[in-house]
C-alpha cells in the first residue's frame, strides 16, 4: 500500500499540499465576498490535482495523471467559471446575512479541525497507523467535510450552499487520493462528471429561484414549514 512506502520527501510534499488545501478552506470561511470563495475553491481544486499527480508519480499509478488533469480542468477551471457566471448573473457580490463574523466562524472551523484530528487519531490507533500520512489525510478529509457543512449552516445565499457542497466533495476527493489511490479510476471519472451535472442542476434551480421565488437566500425560502 502506498501509505506504507513513502519516502520522507514525498511525505512532506503530500502533507504540504493537504494542509494547503485545508488552509484554503479557511480563506473561504474568513471572507464574505463570493468571488473570493470561488477563487479559493479553484485554488483548492488545483492543489488537489497536484496531489493526484504527485501520487501518480510516487505510487506509479499512471491513470492518476488523467484524473489530475480532469480535476484541474473541471473542478479547478470549469466549475469555478460556472459559479462565477452565476454570481455575475445574480448580481450578488457578497454574503449579506452571515450568522457569525468571520473571526468567530474561523474559531469554530479550528475547533472542527481539532475534532477531526481526534477522530482520525483514534482511527489511526485502531489501525496501527499512528505517525502515518493516513492520519493527516483523514484529518483533512473530515475537516473539509465539517467546514463545508459549517459554511452551509452559517450562510444563507444559494451560491454559498453550492460552494459548501463543493468543499465537502473536495475533501472526499483529497482523502481518497491519498488513502485509496488504487480505487478504480472509472469510479473517480464518473464522480467528476456527476459533480458537473449536479452543479449545472444547481445553476438552473438557482435561476428558477430568482425568477419564480424572488429570492436566492434560504432566509427568504420559508413558505414550506411544518
Amino acid at each position: 500500500m502506498l501509505i506504507f512506502h513513502l519516502g520522507p520527501l514525498a511525505t512532506s510534499l503530500f502533507s504540504l499540499l493537504a494542509i494547503l488545501a485545508l488552509v484554503l478552506s479557511f480563506v473561504m470561511l474568513a471572507s464574505h465576498w463570493l468571488k473570493n470563495h470561488v477563487y479559493a475553491f479553484a485554488a483548492e481544486s488545483w492543489t488537489i490535482a497536484a496531489i493526484s499527480a504527485s501520487i501518480g508519480y510516487y505510487g506509479h499509478y499512471p491513470e492518476l495523471y488523467i484524473i489530475a488533469a480532469l480535476t484541474a480542468l473541471f473542478r479547478g477551471t470549469f466549475l469555478p467559471y460556472l459559479v462565477l457566471r452565476l454570481v455575475k448573473r445574480l448580481d450578488i457580490q457578497r454574503e449579506f446575512t452571515p450568522l457569525l463574523k468571520p473571526s468567530s466562524s474561523m474559531i469554530i472551523g479550528a475547533a472542527l479541525v481539532i475534532f477531526s484530528y481526534e477522530v482520525s487519531r483514534q482511527l489511526g490507533v485502531a489501525l496501527h497507523l499512528t505517525d502515518n500520512i493516513a492520519v493527516l489525510a483523514l484529518t483533512c478529509m473530515f475537516s473539509l467535510k465539517l467546514i463545508g457543512f459549517l459554511m452551509m449552516i452559517l450562510r444563507s445565499e444559494a451560491i454559498s450552499h453550492i460552494l459548501g457542497l463543493l468543499v465537502i466533495e473536495n475533501g472526499i476527493f483529497l482523502g481518497s487520493q491519498i488513502l485509496v489511490p488504487g480505487m478504480p479510476a472509472l469510479l473517480e471519472l464518473v464522480i467528476i462528471f456527476d459533480l458537473l451535472t449536479i452543479v449545472m442542476a444547481f445553476g438552473m434551480l438557482v435561476r428558477f429561484l430568482q425568477t419564480h421565488a424572488g429570492t436566492t437566500s434560504s432566509r427568504g425560502l420559508q413558505k414550506l414549514v411544518g
Binding site: 489501525l127 457542497l165 480505487m183 478504480p184 469510479l187 442542476a201 434551480l205
Partner: protein, 487 residues
C-alpha cells in the same frame, strides 16, 4: 435458463428510447401514451425478472450488474408504481391545461426518473449505486419543481441541497469501506458488495462502524429517516401527484435497499447487533416524528409525506429487527406501501384539483361530491394506517411478531403505540373531510374527474385488499429465500 442480460437490457433501453422519442417529436398527446406504453412494458419486464429470479445472487454484465431476490423485489415495486403513476399522470396532467405545451418534457422527465430508478437497484458496485442514486435526485428535483411556482422551486432546491449533502456523507462512508479493504486485498480490488462483505471480518471494528454509520446517515437522508427527513415533506407535497407517488412508493425503497446492503456488510463483519440497532433506532425516531407531525397537519399531501416517513420508519424497524419473520414482513410491507401510498397520493391529487386547495380543512363533504374517488381515498386511508383487512395490517403485524423474538423487543411496544396514535390522527383528519360542515357556496367543487383519475386508484386498492385477505404461500417461500441470499 432465462436470459437476464436481455431482460435487463430491454428494461433500460425501452425507457431510454421513449425519452428520446418524446423529446424529439415534442407532441404532448403522443408523449402521454408513449409513457404509458413504456410503463406497461417496464412493468411486464420487472414482473418477468421477479418471477424468474434465481434463488442465489446473480452477477452478470462484466461484474457490474447484481440481481438478488430482494433487488428484484425492489425493482418490481418500481415497475408497479411507475405503471400506476403513468396511468394517473394522464388524468392528472389533463387537469392542468396551462402545462400542456410542456407536457412532453414532463413525460420525458418522468420516464427518465423511472429509468434512473431501474438502474440503481441492479448495481453491483456500491460506488456506482451511489451515483445512480445521485441521478435519481437530480432528475426528480426537476419533476418536483416542474410547476414552477415559488413553493415548488423552493421544495426542489431544498431537496437537492439536503439530499446532496447527505449523500456526500455516504460517499465518504463508501471510501472508508474501500480503504478498510485495502489492508486485506491490496491497494486495488474490485469495489463490489460481495468483496466488501468478504473483507468485513478483517477490518477493525472502529473503521467498520464509522463507515457504516456514515452510509446509514447518508442513504438515510435519501430514505427520509428522521432527523434527516427535512426535505421529504416539502418535495413530496409540492411535486405533481404522480411524481409524489413515485418518490414515495419507489425511490425511498431503493435507498433503503442500499442501507440494507451496507448492513449486510456489518453483519458479515460479526457486529450484527450494533448495525441493526442503529437502523432500528432511526426507524423509531422516524415513527415518532411522523406521528407528531401527522396529528397537527393541514396540507393533504404533506400529511401523506409524513405518512411516508412513518412507513419508512416501519420498514427500517422491520429490517432492523432482523430475523426471517420481520424480514418477510418488511418485504411484504414494501409492496403494500408502494401501492397504498400511490393510491393515497392519487386521491389527494384529485381532491386538490377538485377543491382548488391543498388544505384539508377546506375539503369538506368529500363523499357527497365525489362518492367513488372519495370512498376509494377513505378506504386507502384505512389501509395505510394498518387497519384490517388490508395488506399493511398483515405486514405490520408480521414485523411486530418478528420483533418480539429479536434482541430489541422494546421497539415492538413503541412501534405499536405510535401506530395507534397515527391511526387516530389520520382518521380524525378524514372524519373532518367527510362529515365536516358544508363547504362555502363559492367553494363547492364542480370539477368532473375522468376514468383516468379513478382507474389507478382501483388498480392499487384491489391488490392491497387481496394481499390483506390472502398471503400467497409462494410469496412467503420467496421471502424466506430472499432472507437466505446475501442482498
Amino acid at each position: 435458463m432465462v436470459n437476464f442480460d436481455a431482460l435487463i437490457a430491454a428494461l433500460w433501453i425501452i425507457p431510454a428510447v421513449a425519452i428520446i422519442l418524446m423529446l424529439a417529436l415534442r407532441l404532448p398527446h403522443l408523449a402521454e401514451y408513449l409513457n404509458l406504453l413504456t410503463s406497461i412494458a417496464v412493468f411486464g419486464l420487472t414482473l418477468a425478472i421477479l418471477v424468474a429470479v434465481p434463488d442465489k445472487a446473480l452477477v452478470t454484465g462484466e461484474q457490474y450488474i447484481l440481481l438478488t431476490p430482494l433487488g428484484a423485489w425492489v425493482l418490481f415495486c418500481v415497475g408497479l408504481v411507475y405503471l400506476l403513476a403513468s396511468i394517473y399522470a394522464i388524468g392528472y396532467m389533463r387537469l392542468l391545461p396551462e402545462e400542456k405545451p410542456r407536457l412532453h418534457k414532463y413525460y420525458a422527465l418522468q420516464a427518465g426518473f423511472a429509468l434512473t430508478m431501474l438502474i440503481a437497484p441492479l448495481m453491483n458496485n456500491p460506488g456506482i449505486f451511489w451515483i445512480a442514486i445521485d441521478f435519481t435526485t437530480i432528475v426528480s428535483a426537476f419533476l418536483v419543481g416542474f410547476e414552477k411556482e415559488a413553493e415548488c422551486i423552493e421544495a426542489a432546491w431544498k431537496y437537492l441541497i439536503v439530499v446532496s449533502a447527505g449523500l456526500a456523507l455516504a460517499l465518504l462512508g463508501i471510501i472508508l469501506f474501500y480503504w478498510g479493504g485495502t489492508f486485506v486485498l491490496g491497494p486495488t480490488y474490485a469495489l463490489t458488495w460481495a468483496n466488501l462483505r468478504e473483507i468485513a471480518p478483517k477490518v477493525p471494528e472502529t473503521l467498520l462502524f464509522l463507515a457504516f454509520l456514515l452510509t446509514l446517515v447518508g442513504f438515510g437522508t435519501k430514505v427520509g429517516l428522521a432527523p434527516m427527513h427535512t426535505w421529504l415533506p416539502d418535495a413530496h407535497s409540492e411535486g405533481p401527484a404522480p411524481v409524489s407517488a413515485m418518490l414515495s412508493g419507489a425511490l425511498l425503497n431503493i435507498a433503503l435497499l442500499g442501507i440494507y446492503r451496507f448492513l449486510s456488510i456489518v453483519d458479515s463483519g460479526g457486529y450484527s447487533l450494533m448495525g441493526h440497532t442503529a437502523l432500528l433506532v432511526l426507524g423509531v425516531i422516524s415513527l415518532f416524528v411522523a406521528g407528531l407531525f401527522i396529528v397537527r397537519q393541514d396540507g393533504a399531501k404533506r400529511m401523506l409525506a409524513y405518512s411516508s416517513l412513518e412507513h419508512m420508519g416501519v420498514l427500517a424497524i422491520g429490517f432492523g429487527f432482523g430475523g426471517p419473520i420481520a424480514f418477510a414482513g418488511a418485504m411484504y410491507h414494501m409492496v403494500n406501501h408502494s401501492m397504498n401510498k400511490s393510491l393515497m397520493f392519487f386521491g389527494a391529487g384529485n381532491m386538490m384539483r377538485a377543491y382548488g386547495t391543498k388544505s384539508m380543512s377546506k375539503m369538506r363533504q368529500v363523499l357527497r361530491y365525489y362518492p367513488v374517488t372519495g370512498a376509494l381515498w377513505l378506504l386507502g386511508a384505512v389501509a395505510i394506517t394498518g387497519a384490517p383487512p388490508f395488506g399493511l395490517f398483515l405486514s405490520e403485524l408480521t414485523i411486530l411478531r418478528g420483533g418480539i423474538l429479536s434482541p430489541n423487543p422494546w421497539a415492538v411496544w413503541v412501534m405499536a403505540i405510535l401506530l395507534i396514535l397515527i391511526f387516530i390522527a389520520f382518521m380524525n383528519h378524514f372524519r373532518r373531510m367527510i362529515w365536516g360542515p358544508e363547504p362555502e357556496p363559492d367553494e363547492v367543487p364542480t370539477l368532473n374527474l375522468s376514468l383516468w383519475n379513478s382507474l389507478p386508484m382501483w388498480l392499487a386498492l384491489i391488490p392491497v385488499l387481496v394481499l390483506g385477505l390472502w398471503w400467497p404461500s409462494g410469496l412467503w417461500g420467496f421471502f424466506q429465500q430472499a432472507f437466505m441470499v446475501q442482498p
